[in-house]
């Protein structure tokens, strides 16, 4: 029987790995479709029905491109950059609870790879390691534009990580736990954290945009100002990995927002239906993904609405507005929990 958990976790890891990659691939398609629709266009519709094979065509194109490593580049670090970025992006998904446990012949299959009691800390830590991918990639290219892009990206990510971490503390104070499964369980029914932590949610959302290098915080790779940012010298699938990892990041960020603030797999009234355990479990997974997809859409929606920040505005927003606000949020939440509740 002691093999069962190992098989169970291996299967779960494989499924989550494939789902993350699949969703990231189709996010690129969705991004182009959403962008087109928001601009009164139609978007890709030639490859397959409704252009659904577009991500495959893009992937094949990426693989067929010539692989170039600059002669002055540090080859090992140059290769390591996209690897770290992709790996950390995928690693974050390990602690996210995807749904209620499944019941397979008496065995309780927990739909979460690792229910560790420092889940939130693990996510914040892994996300910070992702900066090394960008920094190494930019530095190892031995190109001033790459280096500038990398410096911009990493200083931005480090600045916003502070406010992001502090904005989560409010949630942690309410749920009394660092484990993501406990946080989600604490939001049963309609006790979603967004109701108690609107300010924390707003700060977290803004920081998530900045952490993912998404518009309006896409200064790391702003095509109109830098040549291409930290991945200027990258080509072929190594470039593909960087771009792809950003979409994985976007998916994980959306899942995290759902877990922390929008009740994860919970939905008001679903517990009163008295469904069999497995049906309830599958419905909870569907609910979770529906919420996640909404936030992925929201990421794209924001991208085509708000223009890019100037660099000084970005730093001012991060350090002078979001950081004090998040500290205020922590103090206010703590005071409310101590004196009112």
């Amino acid at each position: 029987m002691e093999w069962l958990p190992i098989i169970d976790k291996s299967v779960l890891i494989l499924i989550i790995f494939l789902i993350s990659l699949g969703i990231a691939a189709y996010s690129t398609y969705a991004e182009r479709k959403v962008a087109a629709f928001l601009q009164d266009r139609i978007g890709p519709n030639r490859a397959g029905p409704f252009g659904l094979l577009q991500p495959i065509a893009d992937g094949v194109k990426m693989f067929m491109k010539e692989e170039i490593i600059p002669s002055a580049a540090d080859k090992f670090l140059f290769m390591l950059g996209p690897c770290i970025f992709m790996m950390t992006a995928l690693m974050t998904s390990a602690v996210i609870p995807w749904g209620k446990p499944l019941d397979i012949g008496g065995y309780q299959m927990n739909l979460q790879v690792a229910d560790i009691n420092i889940g939130v800390l693990y996510i914040v830590a892994t996300a910070s390691v992702g900066v090394y991918g960008i920094m190494l990639g930019g530095w190892a290219s031995n190109n001033k534009f790459s280096l500038l892009g990398a410096v911009r990206a990493s200083s931005q990510m480090i600045s916003y990580e502070l406010a992001m971490g502090l904005s989560i503390i409010g949630v942690l104070l309410i749920s009394n736990s660092l484990s993501l499964s406990d946080i989600v369980k604490g939001q049963e029914g309609f006790h979603w954290n967004i109701i108690y932590q609107p300010l924390g949610f707003l700060i977290f959302l803004i920081c998530a945009f900045a952490e993912c290098n998404r518009a309006p915080f896409d200064l790391a790779e702003c095509e109109t100002e830098l040549v291409g940012g930290y991945h200027t010298e990258y080509s072929s699938m190594k470039l593909g990995m960087f771009l792809f990892a950003e979409y994985v990041n976007m998916f994980i960020s959306s899942a995290l927002i759902v877990c922390l603030f929008f009740g994860g797999y919970n939905f008001p009234g679903i517990d009163n239906l008295d469904l069999p355990q497995n049906v309830a479990s599958i419905i909870s997974v569907v609910i979770f993904f529906a919420k996640t997809f909404f936030f992925i859409f929201f990421f794209m929606w924001i991208r085509w609405t708000i223009p890019r920040f100037r660099y000084d505005q970005l730093m001012k927003l991060g350090w002078q507005i979001l950081l004090p606000l998040s500290i205020f949020n922590v103090v206010a939440t703590a005071a409310w929990l101590t004196f009112v509740k």
Binding site: V34, F37, L38, Q39, D40, R41, W301, I302, T305, I306
Partner: protein
């Protein structure tokens, strides 16, 4: 003097506190973009769907034949002179005995070339033509891979005897 009724007076007043939050403005912006999500798309799916063109659209040229199938063009060169883009070149030749069923008059164009990359489709050649020979039609110039292929010779310009091209709307 007011040049247009769409002009707006720019005000440089300080932003109020609620405006400095930017959130109401961002929400408004999100509303505008999402309204476009459901709007009718402007795209025309070109190879399958063609945009409707007016009857007097000035497109690809045709060299007309008369009712008996003889070429109208006498290579007088007035179209080439009229052409502001200098897209038309031709060489004249004399009609031989036995060719009366091919050419209407004693002189005809041995070669007649229009460079479709130079042509600006102004229609001055058609106005200049005294023999009703050249007309612009509602057809499009098709894309090519080679620049040379855009120089249309008589094989592409002269209408086929069994496949006449209707230029009635342009004759009005």
């Amino acid at each position: 003097m007011k040049l247009t009724n769409r002009s707006v007076v720019v005000s440089k007043k300080e932003l109020t506190w609620s405006e400095k939050l930017y959130l109401p403005a961002i929400t408004q912006g999100l509303g505008i973009t999402i309204s476009h999500f459901f709007k009718k798309k402007a795209t025309v799916q070109y190879p399958e769907v063609e945009k409707p063109r007016t009857e007097i659209w000035r497109g690809r040229h045709v060299l007309k034949r008369d009712e008996e199938g003889r070429e109208n063009c006498t290579a007088c060169g007035l179209c080439a002179v009229a052409c502001p883009a200098e897209a038309i070149t031709m060489e004249a030749a004399e009609r031989m005995k036995g060719e009366e069923h091919l050419y209407r008059e004693e002189k005809y164009a041995a070669t007649y070339e229009i460079n479709m990359l130079r042509c600006i489709f102004c229609g001055l050649c058609e106005e200049a033509c005294p023999k009703d020979a050249i007309y612009l039609t509602d057809r499009l110039v098709s894309p090519e891979y080679d620049r040379q292929d855009f120089i249309y010779g008589k094989n592409k310009l002269v209408e086929k005897i069994d496949d006449r091209i209707d230029i009635v709307p342009r004759k009005k």
